[in-house]
């Protein structure tokens, strides 16, 4: 942990955090609204990075986990209607179970094969939701009865605290002993095992943690937007956005992906004037980053640091 404090990534993040804290006093409610969404996306991206960057498992279907969390929470709220935090917890729990389901093939399959399974998982969930439209509202989605708050500033604070806490936990985890072992397992499973580490156990844990946070964030997002729909929490397009965000911000840095996500959402909003073409521009930029700074923005900075 001592070294975690020396990590430049942490300091960059802290500075940005301070900045974020100051925002409510001097930017419009609308921008706070956009940032609120971007923070939840940030958590998605961080959770994804834990799997890819550390356990080295390419998950094309983060939205499978997110969707499970989101819909579980939403449906629970609309049926039994317990307090929101109960719904969120339930969502996270179900997402974790989903994480285990996803881990089973992951521990057997490599590269594209596993990638495909995750992709299919999303498609299946998508179909399931359309088929059970009576509870899920089908492809037009469902409105949840309760929401976190109507006030943009309040929502902003909730989201900010949420991403800060998740970020701290995930970052800490990544720098902890377990994080090291996980990274070792991801990089060279055989050597990790030869050092006496149960690779399977650690990867499984990684899936659970990643799923847990994805589910949490998914559920929170639902209670922020007041609706859950395939288009907002499950669609492959969302998954792609998350992956882009992580690559853009810098894989294996946990905090980088969060920053990437925020930038991505803001950029999308900035370019709204372009109408439909903004997606085109954003993708093009992301592609350029992949080609010229494969380490991503934060990753690039850190690399510099290491070389020096």
């Amino acid at each position: 942990m001592a070294r975690a404090l020396r990590s430049p990534a942490l300091w960059i993040a802290l500075v940005l955090l301070l900045l974020a804290v100051s925002l409510p006093w001097w930017v419009s409610a609308y921008i706070l609204g956009v940032l609120t969404v971007s923070y939840y996306f940030g958590v998605f991206a961080m959770a994804w990075d834990l799997l890819f960057g550390f356990a080295n498992e390419v998950n094309f279907g983060p939205t499978f986990l997110i969707g499970l969390g989101a819909y579980t929470a939403g449906i629970l709220d609309n049926t039994l209607g317990p307090p929101i935090f109960v719904c969120v917890a339930a969502g996270a729990l179900v997402a974790m179970i989903g994480g285990v389901l996803l881990a089973l093939p992951a521990l057997r399959l490599r590269g594209p094969y596993f990638g495909l399974v995750t992709l299919v998982a999303v498609l299946l969930l998508q179909n399931a939701i359309v088929i059970f439209a009576s509870v899920t509202g089908g492809e037009i989605g469902m409105n949840v009865n309760d929401i976190l708050s109507v006030n943009a500033v309040t929502n902003y604070w909730i989201a900010l605290v949420f991403i800060a806490v998740c970020g701290a936990l995930l970052f800490g985890l990544s720098r902890s002993a377990v994080g090291l072992i996980l990274q070792a397992s991801g990089q060279d499973a055989i050597e990790a095992a030869a050092l006496g580490f149960n690779v399977t156990k650690h990867k499984l844990a990684a899936f659970c943690v990643s799923a847990l946070f994805s589910g949490l964030a998914g559920a929170m997002l639902v209670f922020y937007e007041g609706t859950a729909s395939v288009g907002t929490v499950i669609d492959i397009a969302i998954a792609v956005q998350i992956i882009i965000a992580a690559v853009l911000g810098g894989r294996r840095t946990i905090l980088g992906p969060a920053i990437g996500a925020i930038i991505l959402v803001l950029a999308g909003e900035e370019l709204r004037q372009l109408g439909q073409l903004n997606t085109f521009v954003v993708s093009a930029v992301a592609l350029a980053v992949i080609l010229f700074f494969p380490d991503g923005l934060l990753g690039h900075l850190l690399r510099r640091g290491e070389r020096g």
Binding site: R108, Y113, V117, A237, Q276, S283, P294, D295
Partner: protein, 291 residues
């Protein structure tokens, strides 16, 4: 009767699935690239072909040719703009090239989708049938166009087979898919081989695209599904195995048609997806894959 209907209806769609997947799998076999912009390239062929045929009044056949040409260009663009730079980049560690190519082509696919939607809107379009009218096969009224499409698909696949197994260039291609290094030692330029496989891929994807437009109609909103189905079929059949992809294409095609007939049209895609998961899980190398 019903069985016959399923047999006939499933055949053409499966042939089309197969044609779409064959290029995809060949590309992987030879150059190890999974091109997630696949659907995009097919749709480019469809839309541009449609416009050339209708808008520019070139007629269906000429228009289709233009469409295939467009796909070829798109395929080259994918290779030179996205895939090759990633493969050659020093900054990207070897073991991560795969994921980078996947992400890169994925982004490229999105760019194609949005770009095409900008010019053509996301309404699906259809080419005029290559031939009109219907043929009556043992009481099953089948559009003559559908029969023709099945035939063309198989002719294209047949030609590919001849190319690979009977021509010198094809042999080199096959060899590259087995052992590229060995080929270099025999004085073959791999770059040429790759260029060739991207050419073949582009043409196949193009043909599949225009046929799809003429058979079912297609639009930018289908791009995701097209890529996904090609990907699944290819994995199910065994990455890199052409014959495997064909078998898988028919399995999927018939499974879907059967579901639509016998179970419920609403559940159409589901059994195929579940089967896919099972195959990938129980037999990761795919139906005919070797590993």
């Amino acid at each position: 009767m019903l069985a016959l209907q399923i047999l006939i209806d499933g055949f053409a769609i499966s042939a089309l699935y197969g044609l779409g997947a064959v290029g995809f799998t060949l590309l992987f076999g030879v150059s190890g690239v999974l091109n997630l912009a696949h659907g995009g390239i097919m749709v480019i062929a469809a839309l541009i072909g449609w416009q050339a045929a209708g808008g520019l009044g070139l007629g269906t056949w000429l228009g289709s040719a233009v469409g295939v040409l467009a796909a070829l260009v798109a395929s080259y663009a994918t290779y030179f703009v996205v895939v090759r730079p990633i493969q050659r980049s020093r900054a990207i560690p070897r073991e991560e090239t795969e994921i980078f190519v996947l992400t890169g082509t994925l982004l490229w696919g999105i760019m194609i989708q949005v770009g095409m939607a900008y010019f053509y809107s996301d309404n699906p379009v259809t080419m005029r049938p290559l031939i009109d009218g219907v043929t009556n096969i043992a009481g099953v009224r089948t559009p003559t166009n559908e029969i023709l499409i099945a035939v063309i698909s198989w002719v294209a696949i047949g030609l590919l087979w001849l190319l690979v197994n009977r021509t010198r260039a094809g042999k080199a291609l096959l060899a590259a898919s087995i052992n590229p290094r060995g080929l270099v030692l025999l004085g073959f330029e791999l770059d040429r081989i790759y260029l060739m496989v991207w050419t073949i891929y582009g043409v196949l994807a193009g043909i599949a695209g225009v046929l799809l437009a003429s058979f079912l109609g297609v639009g930018t909103s289908n791009i995701g599904n097209l890529t996904a189905s090609a990907f699944s079929i290819v994995v199910m059949g065994g990455l890199g195995s052409v014959s495997g992809s064909l078998v898988a294409a028919y399995v999927v095609g018939y499974l879907e048609t059967f579901t639509a007939y016998e179970i419920a049209p609403t559940l159409r895609p589901i059994p195929a997806l579940i089967l896919l998961v099972l195959v990938v899980y129980l037999r990761p190398q795919g139906l005919l894959g070797r590993r």
